[in-house]
């Protein structure tokens, strides 16, 4: 449901170095240590503590590069299942003090903060601090909180006080002086392309942006930019979505656990990734109209293609057929592949699609899919899977491959 906005207060909550904080929640001795969270393959630092960051280690850095920069660093393997548990706990805590919560990403939430003051029986800034303390003590994760009249302002406010800070931005004068020095790229929704356009017009700070004529912004950055302009003036135009609308895209894939040109293995990866994709589409309750496949070769080149499906679908046989068709077209035998990515776009909620336009599965397909879901839910993910994935025995035998980044959050966090 979209919340109708009156003079609602919007809160934004952002966990501080979330993955590391999750590890610290269960291993308190990591507190104060230079901690790096490693990717599933053990090759790259995907998250770091502030102590590690201070030594010049950045996200995505390979471990062999990070080690000499900080020989005292301690590394831990990422555990998305655990991070997801704490993410949900965080959301549950916020739901106790807010009538509407939007899951924005694994470690970020927007919420209706209108009742915060009353719930904590304290002035708003103190109430925000109390919420922060509550999450820290109950979930074990430090967060930063921003509260303002719009999403854009609330997010800017929270980002400005990281780590473990709170900022309430309601006073127009205070807001104005706060925005004055803030770089325009800090606005959520302003990518580098938009930033370039703005810079060319000498619009470098959020203050400049807000002070620019609305029509000029609209010309430069279309309606989207105009929406941000209103938001920065404390007029909420981007509503809270407590049930996310269909994502723009849902994708699955990643590294193939070592380069390969073994055709059987590649075909098996294709099947595994389609199974994961169908699982993700199921979770979102969406069907897709377009499908694309991309392969990264050892040479660094990408090959792939996309296709429009005959009708909106989330069915395994349909998507697998599309995937195989593209694979057969683009892959030349002998090419060594390192990564595979499957993507779907033009998504819609299943219940929102006119039934006559939906790709209707046969009774047998429905029953097969239902049983598969049931067994896998009870016995474990991938307990029942396509026989075509047999060449990947090693991948399925490693239980750590059983988790994805849960992307109900709509964006990846690294």
């Amino acid at each position: 449901m979209n919340i109708i906005l009156g003079r609602m207060l919007i809160g934004f909550l952002d966990a501080d170095c979330f993955y590391v904080s999750c590890e610290r929640a269960r291993l308190p001795h990591l507190m104060g240590q230079p901690v790096g969270v490693l990717s599933n393959q053990g090759a790259c630092v995907i998250a770091k503590s502030y102590e590690l960051k201070a030594r010049g280690i950045s996200t995505g850095m390979p471990i062999w590069k990070a080690r000499p920069l900080c020989p005292e660093a301690v590394f831990v393997k990422r555990d998305f299942a655990w991070y997801e548990i704490l993410s949900r706990r965080m959301a549950d805590e916020v739901r106790q003090v807010s009538p509407a919560v939007e899951y924005y990403s694994i470690d970020e939430l927007f919420f209706d903060a209108s009742w915060l003051s009353r719930t904590f029986e304290a002035p708003l800034s103190e109430a925000a601090m109390r919420l922060r303390e509550r999450i820290h003590s109950r979930v074990g994760v430090p967060v930063s909180v921003g509260v303002s009249r719009s999403r854009t302002l609330a997010k800017l406010a929270a980002k400005s006080v990281k780590p473990f800070g709170c900022r309430v931005l309601l006073d127009p004068e205070e807001t104005k002086s706060f925005l004055h020095d803030c770089p325009v790229e800090e606005i959520a929704g302003i990518g580098w392309r938009s930033a370039d356009k703005l810079h060319a017009r000498q619009i470098r700070t959020v203050g400049n942006f807000a002070a620019t004529d609305r029509h000029v912004i609209c010309k430069l950055l279309t309606k989207k930019g105009e929406a941000l302009w209103w938001e920065l003036h404390g007029e909420p135009v981007l509503p809270l979505d407590t049930i996310r609308p269909p994502h723009k895209m849902v994708g699955r894939g990643g590294s193939l656990s070592g380069p390969t040109r073994d055709i059987e293995r590649l075909r098996a990866w294709l099947v595994r990734n389609v199974e994961r994709l169908v699982e993700a589409l199921d979770r979102h309750g969406v069907v897709c109209e377009t499908f694309s496949l991309s392969l990264r070769l050892e040479s660094g080149h990408y090959i792939g293609d996309g296709t429009t499906l005959p009708e909106a679908t989330a069915q395994f046989p349909r998507l697998l057929a599309a995937a195989r068709d593209i694979f057969n077209r683009v892959y030349r035998s002998g090419d060594t592949v390192t990564h595979m990515h499957l993507n779907t776009e033009r998504l819609s909620f299943r219940h929102a699609v006119q039934q006559s336009l939906l790709d209707r599965p046969s009774a047998q397909d429905i029953e097969t899919a239902r049983l598969k879901r049931l067994i896998n839910k009870r016995v474990g993910r991938f307990a029942v899977r396509s026989g075509a994935t047999l060449p990947l025995h090693d991948i399925y035998a490693d239980p750590t491959n059983g988790h994805d980044i849960c992307d109900i959050y709509g964006k990846l966090c690294f």
Binding site: H29, G32, P34, V74, F75, K77
Partner: protein, 157 residues
């Protein structure tokens, strides 16, 4: 494999700290970080903490030189060799090596409880503790470039 372990100072009884003069091994990795006590392979006479027969003790770690004949050379013991009975004559007994962080090829990584080890004995000699190793997981191999890894207590990485 394993070049050393580090244990929170707070997890080692004061009695052992005094008895083995462990105070000199206390280190911290940062201003706010807790104190650790390190046991490294590169020391002249390396030691390891180990739980054996319900007691936490500090034991001689492995065998450094050829002069100490009779004990397997090195600091590690292949789990497969132990299971195949290679060291039966040294009366192997399982031990648990408590650790918070383990060092391998310059990489410190976090462990939940520690490592599995084995205690070997010979007449008229101090018993020795060895770290048990097994084939490295893909993750471990990428992280350390080693094809063997210690057998971890209560977890797999």
């Amino acid at each position: 494999m394993c070049d050393g372990v580090s244990l929170l100072r707070s997890e080692i009884p004061q009695r052992l700290i005094r008895q083995f003069k462990l105070e000199s091994r206390v280190v911290v990795r940062g201003e706010q970080a807790p104190e650790e006590i390190r046991f490294l392979r590169r020391e002249g006479r390396p030691w390891l903490p180990a739980w054996h027969a319900g007691q936490l003790g500090i034991h001689a770690w492995g065998c450094r030189s050829r002069q100490e004949q009779g004990f397997p050379p090195g600091a590690w013991c292949h789990r497969e060799h132990l299971e195949a009975g290679y060291w039966r004559h040294l009366q192997p007994e399982p031990v648990e090596i408590p650790a918070n962080y383990v060092l391998d090829r310059g990489i410190w990584y976090v462990v939940r409880d520690g490592l599995r080890g084995v205690l070997l004995r010979r007449p008229r000699d101090v018993p020795r503790v060895y770290v048990l190793t097994e084939a490295a997981s893909h993750y471990y191999h990428v992280m350390t470039r080693h094809d063997r890894m210690p057998v971890l207590l209560h977890e797999r990485i």
